[in-house]
Subunit: 189 residues, 2 copies
DNA sequence: TTACGACATGTTGATTTATACATGTCAGCA
DNA sequence: TGCTGACATGTATAAATCAACATGTCGTAA
């Protein structure tokens, strides 16, 4: 249900078409909340049916821009203030790390180096974006400021992951079963 | 497809039943890769059909423990070494932060305080777990060491988010449209 | 003028994930 | 003995997501 509210939130800034929203979801929100255009168009129809948005204008090439309604504005605010935040993450890198013991030391080193590079680069990107915003390149509307705050999260998050990959590479390879009894599990019950 | 490999990875440690695996997905992997039991049982059937796992033993109450096959072991390793990591995240907290400008300053303060508390607590939990592991409470098998590494990611990740929430609370509330022109967007095209 | 690429919106089907329902077993205790 | 709660596995249904297909418009540059 977050896509629904994400769309409403973006439309609270001003009218936009499905195409616009798709681009913003891919460019700005892509790393934190991916969404493809079929899902977006479908959700826009549902939002319109529910009266939370309405067609604002029709442009060339069948372009339809939607505008948020009062009910819609109320609904985003309700979401932000009343709905519980779902803190579930889904990070494939971390899932994989649980199985690192299956890799040979060299394979692990290689993998961690790749991960570290990716995370470092991504953190860099966010840092550059934040700098541009701090220089005022995107104006200083309230919306821009919120995105600046979100960007800071991106920086800190990816920097943390980069630090993690660096740290993980320093962990000495486990000497399997060093005289200790293995973690072999017998079936419970 | 990650659930499939997650299950294979867990089974690489030793035989386990759907029930066991469900618990481990909820307890250990829950925060980084959620999965409910219907999905797990279904995937186990598919894995068995594919010959990547097989029934190891049958216990009381219809309990079926699965064992990974050689093909399965090969498949997890292939996944870890050859498949590209999907770095897409999905973080509702961050999605919401893009819309913070819709909140009154007091509402925002409240929200950020809640977020910070949650992230701090979670980081704490991981830290305690890591300490216990470092004291050797879980033995020192290679598997335990991998989980220790994953735990470190949890610590760093949630600490970064906690720091972010703390930092965000210090950002002065934007004075909307201070003589500058608004970010109101006209429909492109 | 015609061909191309960007714009723009949709449908279809497959896969994945989540929620709710349903069933039965076994251990321990009252 | 009968009840309860944890164990254990599944099905059914709905919702969310993704990949692929499909269609048509408009501007522009060769």
């Amino acid at each position: 249900m977050s896509l629904r509210h994400g769309l409403l939130g973006l439309l609270a800034e001003g009218p936009a078409s499905g195409y616009d929203l798709t681009r913003r979801f891919q460019e700005t929100l892509g790393p934190i909340w991916p969404a493809q255009h079929p899902q977006i168009y479908a959700e826009l129809s549902r939002l319109a049916d529910a009266g939370l948005i309405e067609v604002d204008s029709r442009g060339p090439r069948g372009r339809k821009a939607y505008r948020i309604t009062d009910a819609g504005r109320q609904e985003v605010r309700r979401w932000l203030t009343e709905d519980e935040v779902d803190h579930t993450l889904r990070i494939e890198s971390l899932l994989r790390s649980v199985f690192f013991w299956l890799l040979e030391p060299e394979e692990l080193t290689e993998r961690l180096a790749q991960e570290r590079e990716f995370f470092t680069k991504t953190a860099e990107q966010y840092r550059r974006l934040a700098d541009a915003k701090d220089r005022g390149e995107y104006g200083n509307s309230v919306q821009t400021q919120s995105i600046r705050v979100a960007t800071e999260a991106g920086i800190k998050l990816f920097q943390a992951l980069a630090d993690w990959a660096e740290w993980a590479a320093t962990v000495p390879p486990a000497t399997p079963e060093k005289g200790r009894k293995s973690a072999k599990r017998k079936p419970a019950d």
